[in-house]
Symmetry: C2
Subunit: 356 residues, 2 copies
DNA sequence: TTGAAAGCGCTAACAT
DNA sequence: ATGTTAGCGCTTTCAA
């Protein structure tokens, strides 16, 4: 194997000097056709246009024709801002997510946005970087848009956030965690159970000297829950965790590789390693490949998330597959249906791959 | 090596029967504090509250105190919907992106959202699945929110989309492509140049029997541009493309693995393969590992995107690193700065890894 | 420095 | 079936 050369990551960007001009559109032309103009052009009242456009209330087919013709002719685009203000509920759904680097959240967004789009809802989002203070600020900013629902990750919020959400009167969905008390609706699965099952699986396979490689647990509280129940289960099984390596940064393939390297440098006789997720586990896998460490005979590897990539590996990754897309879908469906408060356990599935 | 077991992907979700109730919040309580109530409570006029809150116009320190106290006491959250309607411009930025599975787009969103949040803009998004018709529908839906800017991928839009965007009067940013004419602002790099440089690199390294493994090119037009300029460059260099394998679905590690398997089954004597992106290339890499095909001596592999994962591989992936996050950042900065129409070329970087 | 009042573009009674 | 009108909650002149 070739030794890994360390290559630099993407550089932060500074605003560039202006480059070529090459545009076919006039700069800033404001033309705003309003509903009133459509009404005028169609020779009907405003409310009639409104009814036709929303297909709500009654109007004749002929009127409909004329209105639509005027809409077409004028290139009218309804103003949802005005519409929302005038009516009661908005069709905005706000996502306040920890990260876009962790594939979990794009997956949730993907599941949700498909359902929302079908139902003519609009998704809005902001990213907290796992910072509860930032979460509070961003949640406040989102609430200012009077969304129909706010979706957050898990249960760990500041008092201020909770108070705000409670007072807002909009639906609150806490996703991807079930170990705690929901404010309103919760959709996901138990991270504690996931940690427990992972440990039980490794014990049953006969591994006794087990280590852990993880990313920042203070920030990612769900990973923290998995880890603590993992440790408890190991201890209860008579084979307490032997060593751990926790990396400061976000979860990544590189950190997984580095983490395993460090862990093995300190503790040589491990027979299995649990990773905080699949990215990290893949990094560990790469480390073993590079160092010629046989998997799983010499060292077993176990991940979390069940990314597609794990299935394509020469040895399919042993891991737990979580219903990320489904979490988004179900959450969105519950919002659309205006379902009562509830906790929906989507479960997870242990993937008995070839690495453990 | 263990033979790859094919494991199922995540199942589509049906809406589940209701499960346990476990909530601490009353279901749907609407309490809406308005600016007028704050004004009343503070004993000042509405416009004064508005000025204080936006820190715009003049007011005494004492007035400020009283207003803020009232805001605090009542738990007032401004209504941005009303604010936007009353004022001229919105601080919404709309993203109409092809996919959330392709990491490119979460990366762009990540770069943009950081900048937007700092400047108190709000990101809104929807996902087209690479379908131009859907793009048109979603763009129309987005325009109804009267965003300050709409960001799209590339230049290939329906006539209707273009017409709508032109008429909307809002800023239009076309991202991740520079091979075409921009409507307003373009930020990205040349995919044609990327394909060209990739081919030139492989030729320079002495590879002559080169194949291609890609995903659906009709939908991902940027991948199509890379591929066509790649082929042209090979042909010009006297070593035209020997074989290609195009998979119907989206780009993924599994498709990459499958694609290379099929390609090699048909064409045994290739010495290098160009992949439509790094996911696909990683799949190819896995195939080679599983089959004991030596890289790069027996077969060279070249990707596109420069994902972090490529750096953690036992042999760093040879690829082209694209400025995805920076594209989002710069685009957002240009919106915030209300910059004139322009095309910003962020370039890309060829990563001379160990696989080619 | 402050307040009164006129909208922003639409929806939703309420008439007709 | 359709028109009239009164807001939705804010921003923004314009006076005071």
């Amino acid at each position: 194997m070739v030794a890994a050369r360390r290559l630099p990551a993407e550089m932060p960007a500074a605003i560039p000097k202006e480059l070529g001009f090459k545009h076919t559109m006039d700069f800033k032309q404001q033309v705003t056709v309003t509903l009133a103009e459509v009404a005028e052009a169609a020779g009907v009242g405003e409310s009639t246009v409104s009814r036709v456009l929303r297909n709500h209330g009654s109007f004749s087919g002929k009127t409909r024709e004329r209105v639509m013709a005027a809409v077409e002719r004028l290139g009218y685009v309804p103003n949802r801002i005005a519409g929302t203000l005038a009516s009661t509920g908005s069709r905005l759904v706000a996502f306040v997510i920890p990260s876009l680097s962790n594939i979990v959240f794009p997956d949730v967004l993907r599941g949700a946005s498909a359902v929302l789009e079908e139902n003519r809802y609009q998704a809005v989002f902001s990213v907290t970087d796992y910072d509860p203070g930032k979460e509070e600020a961003l949640a406040a900013a989102m609430l200012a848009w009077r969304p129909a629902a706010v979706m957050l990750a898990g249960y760990e919020h500041t008092e201020g956030t909770v108070k705000m959400l409670r007072a807002s009167g909009c639906r609150v969905l806490e996703l991807l965690d079930l170990d705690g008390d929901a404010l309103d609706i919760a959709v996901g699965f138990s991270n504690r159970a996931a940690g427990r099952e992972s440990a039980a699986f490794l014990l049953k396979r006969g591994y006794r000297r087990i280590g852990y490689v993880g990313h920042d647990l203070n920030r990612d509280t769900r990973a923290g829950k998995r880890f603590s129940s993992f440790c408890e289960t190991l201890a209860a099984g008579g084979a307490p965790l032997v060593a751990r390596e926790i990396l400061a940064g976000a979860s990544s393939v590189e950190n997984g590789r580095l983490g395993l390297e460090r862990l093995l440098a300190r503790t040589r006789d491990l027979d299995a390693v649990y990773f905080s997720n699949d990215d990290m586990a893949l990094g560990g896998y790469f480390h073993c490949l590079a160092e010629g460490i046989a998997i799983p005979s010499r060292l077993a590897i176990f991940g979390y998330n069940g990314l597609d990539i794990g299935r394509a590996m020469p040895q399919p990754l042993s891991t737990i597959r979580t219903p990320r897309v489904a979490t988004g879908q179900i959450a969105a469906q519950l919002v659309v249906a205006d379902a009562p408060p509830q906790a929906v356990d989507l479960g997870f599935e242990l993937i008995d791959g070839a690495t453990a």
